[in-house]
């Protein structure tokens, strides 16, 4: 009988430019450093069984990532795991919590509903509140991505300009994050005419359905 654990972690500055795929590799290596008995898939090219809740775009940081990991049944007590893993976590991964869950639970990705982001603007910008208000007033917001036109507006659940903190403006967003219905923070920024490379995007929460 395999064991399934769920780890909540932050993806911090050092790993800002580590891709989704490379993040899996970092996890695999972390578990190997901890001598955890990773459960591998069967077949020609065995891969460790792991699932991340929602891919985080390159360049973003996060304090709310969730990964499910399957282990062989000779794994250590789940109560000990957090401290074991923290000892070997690489720069860029900060483990917050480790819990055991039922191996039969549905995949994490299917339960993601929305995600919340805090965007920090590196430069001062004029008329930000007008831009945000104008965008929110619209019923539709046609945008093009990879040659396809889609409506961004219904993917935005919430968009709020925060008071400048230390001279830097912040924008809070809650966007849908379901398969085929995913709002992208950089798309919202472009719609606000803010160059994404002059911002820092941090994911603060993933909202799951039950």
């Amino acid at each position: 009988m395999a064991m399934r654990i769920r780890v909540t972690f932050s993806k911090t500055e050092p790993m800002r430019f580590t891709s989704h795929l490379d993040l899996f590799r970092a996890w695999e290596r972390t578990l190997r450093r901890a001598s955890m008995p990773i459960l591998f898939s069967q077949g020609y090219n065995p891969r460790p069984r792991m699932q991340l809740a929602a891919a985080l775009p390159l360049g973003f940081t996060s304090s709310c990532e969730v990964i499910d990991i399957w282990l062989e049944d000779d794994a250590p007590q789940v109560s000990d795991m957090k401290s074991v893993l923290i000892q070997v976590q690489p720069p860029g991964i900060e483990i917050q919590d480790v819990i055991e869950i039922d191996p039969q639970d549905p995949p994490l990705q299917k339960r993601v509903r929305s995600a919340e982001y805090m965007v920090t603007l590196l430069d001062p910008m004029s008329q930000l509140s007008d831009r945000v208000a104008n965008l929110l007033q619209k019923d539709t917001l046609q945008r093009e991505r990879r040659g396809k036109t889609y409506d961004l507006r219904p993917l935005i659940e919430d968009l709020t300009l925060k008071p400048a903190d230390g001279g830097k403006h912040q924008i809070f967003m809650r966007l849908f994050a379901q398969e085929s219905k995913t709002g992208r923070p950089e798309e919202v920024l472009l719609a606000l005419e803010i160059p994404p490379e002059n911002t820092r995007v941090h994911r603060i929460k993933i909202i799951f359905t039950d």
Binding site: M15, E28, F40, V88, N198
Partner: protein, 643 residues
């Protein structure tokens, strides 16, 4: 005005989202060593003049990184070339090239140590200096500029880079790097001139300071002689070695992004006793020194604990020749077989025992099995001294296919002066015969990949007198291969003849070649090792701008008496031995493994004292008896000048 690390950090923040694979430029990985810049006396930048993806797999620099950072008074940081998109961004934003650990401009370092394993990094080296705002030419640098040193296999002929590198390390770097740091430290305390620093360095065994020598040429353009400008510098400069391999680095930096090799590299042995006549590495890395099985096992264990890599590379020039290979494979299998690792054992001999070894070491992914017959006819095999029989190869191939590897890769080399089109046709026939063996065992699943490189007569090998094949001949031979090696299950890759020419010019160049390197770089040459970046015209234009004939370096007939521009660098394999071996080659005479019989290549007399202090099977060379008197011993130990 030089930027501070925080200014650099601030500026690249805006740039990184726009470039490809920004993870190349951030540093911050697991196991990187960051020391307090203000508290450490000597700062060394370890440079690989190509991109991060390649540089992170360079074992030499990983070794030096660990050795240097162990010293509390020294820090070592990593520096790589930016890819072209990042270079453009850095230039546009006026950001100097910086180190990954602390983001200091590379001009802030005391010492920059470059790894130059191959020649097609030369223009990148100049470009890297330029990006770091460091004077390109050695003579332009002052006491406030970093000391630029370089080592690696290409520097056994340092002359084409003599104008750009302040001091070369000839041979193995593990010990000499600390001597260099010490010399630098005492020079810094004395507040002496740059010339004093170079003088100090030139007294260290294994260090070559080109500016303390001058060269002369004959009327026909051939090299005449090199002479000292300072009476105390060595001539010849004898390579430095370590008598025993120190423990391998295991606290390797773990990249966040995918690189060329994501593995724990462990040298099981250095050097090779096979004596393939074309093989530069086999000549310059002598003598053979082995690590013990236990040391290797411990290193694997430690490496996994520190990095979490799932790939282990057990490296050597000829794994089959490692004395305890059977014990090693058995022990690795016992200890690691249930850990889902992929363990590679490259450079195996062409015999069925090799298949047993690979079978045991359980590379689970069984995608491909690589062998290097190099030649397909008996004649060529004798000439290059790599005797393998075709029946033996076919038997080995059958065994490989039947034990679950569907794909065999065979390495060949074309372009030797004695080679005819028949010898090249034999490559085709051999590949088809090998594939046919696979078809018999696993049917149409069987695949064969022929990787065909082109011979470059490397300095310090018995073939150093040989000319390169002409471009027309190479083309004709490659065309023959391309015409005939096609069809289901067959794959052919080859080296672009232009790339071979650039490699050959730079391998065989003299001091005058430095100007060609400079001119080629000025005309846009960089990333010469990248097929899609090689700018051949820039090189041709550079030759004509300098007034040199490129064919002089590559296609000329050389007399056995000719003095080469690299003869003053001693790998300790004597020129006399190489002449004899060339003559043996011409009469198709082969040499056996020199562990069975010493052929007196010259290594042992030079390092007799080291060998005496480290007796037994740790070296491939015979023991040196202890009963000689101290006087005799000294005589043996002093390197004799080349023929």
């Amino acid at each position: 005005m030089v930027l501070t690390p925080s200014e650099i950090q601030e500026r690249i923040t805006r740039i990184l989202p726009r470039v490809r694979k920004p993870g190349r430029y951030t540093g911050g990985e697991l196991n990187q060593v960051v020391k307090d810049w203000e508290l450490v006396q000597i700062k060394v930048g370890l440079v690989f003049p190509d991109i991060y993806d390649l540089g992170m797999s360079n074992l030499g620099l990983a070794i030096l990184y660990e050795i240097l950072n162990k010293r509390p008074d020294v820090l070592a940081e990593r520096i790589y070339s930016p890819w072209i998109d990042m270079e453009n961004e850095l230039r546009a934003a006026d950001i100097p090239l910086y180190s990954l650990e602390s983001m200091h401009p590379i001009s802030d370092f005391d010492i920059l140590g470059l790894s130059l394993p191959y020649e097609t990094l030369y223009t990148n080296t100049l470009n890297l200096f330029d990006l770091g705002k460091i004077p390109i030419f050695s003579y332009q640098r002052t006491s406030t500029d970093p000391l630029v040193i370089a080592g690696g296999h290409a520097t056994y002929n340092p002359e084409p880079m003599h104008a750009f590198i302040d001091a070369f390390v000839i041979g193995e770097g593990e010990e000499v790097i600390l001597d260099i740091v010490d010399a630098y430290q005492s020079w810094k305390q004395d507040e002496a001139s740059r010339a004093d620093l170079l003088k100090k360095l030139s007294r260290i065994s294994g260090v070559y300071v080109p500016s303390l020598y001058q060269t002369e040429y004959n009327k026909d353009g051939t090299f005449d002689n090199i002479s000292k400008l300072d009476q105390e510098v060595p001539l010849p400069v004898v390579k430095r070695i370590v008598p025993e391999l120190p423990p391998p680095p295991t606290r390797l930096v773990v990249p966040f992004i995918d690189t060329v090799h994501n593995r724990i590299p462990i040298e099981i042995m250095r050097g090779c006793t096979r004596g393939c006549r074309f093989c530069h590495a086999g000549m310059v890395t002598r003598p053979v020194r082995e690590r013990s099985v236990n040391e290797i096992l411990d290193a694997i264990e430690e490496g996994i604990a520190h990095t979490g890599f799932d790939e282990i590379g057990l490296l050597s020039l000829s794994s089959s020749d490692y004395t305890h290979i059977l014990d090693l494979v058995k022990a690795v299998n016992e200890r690691f077989s249930d850990r889902n690792l992929s363990i590679s054992l490259p450079s195996l001999r062409i015999e069925t025992v090799s298949v047993d070894l690979m079978d045991q070491i359980m590379d689970q992914r069984r995608s491909g099995f690589t062998l290097a017959p190099e030649a397909a006819t008996e004649k060529m095999r004798q000439i290059i001294n790599k005797p393998v029989s075709t029946p033996q190869l076919l038997e080995t191939a059958r065994e490989i296919y039947s034990r679950g590897w569907p794909n065999i890769k065979l390495y060949f080399m074309i372009g030797h002066p004695s080679e005819t089109l028949e010898d090249v046709q034999a490559i085709v026939d051999l590949c088809k015969a090998v594939l046919n063996e696979g078809r018999k065992v696993i049917g149409r699943r069987a695949k064969l990949h022929a990787g065909v490189s082109t011979f470059v007569p490397k300095p310090h090998t018995p073939f150093q007198w040989a000319p390169c094949d002409t471009q027309e001949n190479i083309q004709a031979k490659q065309d023959l291969l391309k015409r005939n090696l096609r069809g289901k299950g067959l794959k052919l890759t080859w080296t672009d003849p232009e790339e071979t020419m650039v490699e050959a010019w730079l391998s065989r160049g003299d001091r005058r070649m430095a100007e060609v390197v400079y001119q080629a770089w000025q005309r846009g040459a960089k990333f010469d090792a990248w097929k899609d970046q090689l700018n051949y015209n820039a090189w041709l234009e550079a030759f004509s701008a300098v007034g040199l004939e490129s064919g002089f370096y590559t296609h000329r007939h050389r007399e056995l008496t000719e003095t080469f521009p690299w003869d003053h660098i001693s790998t300790t394999v004597r020129k006399k031995f190489m002449v004899q071996d060339l003559i043996r080659s011409q009469s198709h005479e082969t040499l056996e493994d020199c562990r069975d019989q010493c052929y007196a290549c010259g290594v042992l007399p030079t390092f007799a004292d080291l060998r005496r202090a480290h007796p037994g099977e740790v070296w491939g060379c015979p023991d040196v008896p202890n009963h000689q008197k101290q006087d005799d011993l000294l005589q043996v130990a002093v390197p004799s000048p080349e023929v």
